[in-house]
Amino acid sequence: MTKKRFNPITDKSSEIIDFLMASPDMPFDEALRFKLRLSIEEAVENVVCYAYEGGIGWLEVGTSLDHDSLILTIELRDAGVPFNPLEAPDPDVSLPANERKVGGLGIFLCKKMMDSINYQYVDGNNVLTMTKRV
């Protein structure tokens, strides 16, 4: 398990994303890395921008790889406002441009790019767990 707690997290998105992408658990395949980076960026941005009022707080991120099943797990944990990002309805991707709302695509992209995404509120923490077979 590669793990690190960032505190504070204001303006730290790039650093947190780069930390996760540099984990030895990450695959080398370019297309897979693209999907993982995108999912990580959307999930991290969600916490950095919205979890803490005033943006002051911590975010603990980690990766683990099951070497038998080749399932990569990415975990994000924060102590911000309880918020389940999976409860938001998916955007209607069939609407024409003038009816499309700006925003709301981040977690939808995570759902599409990862194999599974799971949210729990545990001991006062938001815990988001995403998995992908690599």
Binding site: I17, F34, E41, P91
Partner: protein
């Protein structure tokens, strides 16, 4: 993200190079401000050098397309790499922006 904007007669040729992500999106939005001006814009974006976009990039492309439609113009994006194209496909953006 590097961007070049070249106005040729009626057409505006744009070249994108690099990643649109959390660290570059704000600058990118400022850089494309010239594309948000003028009547009946005819904008052609070469995306062959764009290696990545997150939802922050999509947000800006949607704003651009809405603005282009409002000004009765035309927006084309071309030479998108397959991974970026997949992001546009999944989110339905391939249906709201002409991708060649």
């Amino acid at each position: 993200m590097d961007i070049t904007i070249n106005k040729q007669d009626e057409k505006t040729l744009v070249t994108l190079n690099g990643r649109i992500d959390t660290s570059s999106a704000n600058q990118f939005q400022q850089d494309i401000a010239p594309l948000m001006e003028g009547d009946r814009p005819d904008i052609d974006i070469d995306c062959s050098g764009m290696t990545y976009t997150s939802s922050q990039g999509l947000r800006i492309f949607l704003m651009l397309q809405k603005s282009v439609i409002a000004r009765k113009g035309n927006l084309v994006m071309r030479n998108m790499n397959p991974m970026v194209k997949e992001v546009f496909d999944i989110t339905g953006f391939s249906n709201i922006i002409t991708i060649l």
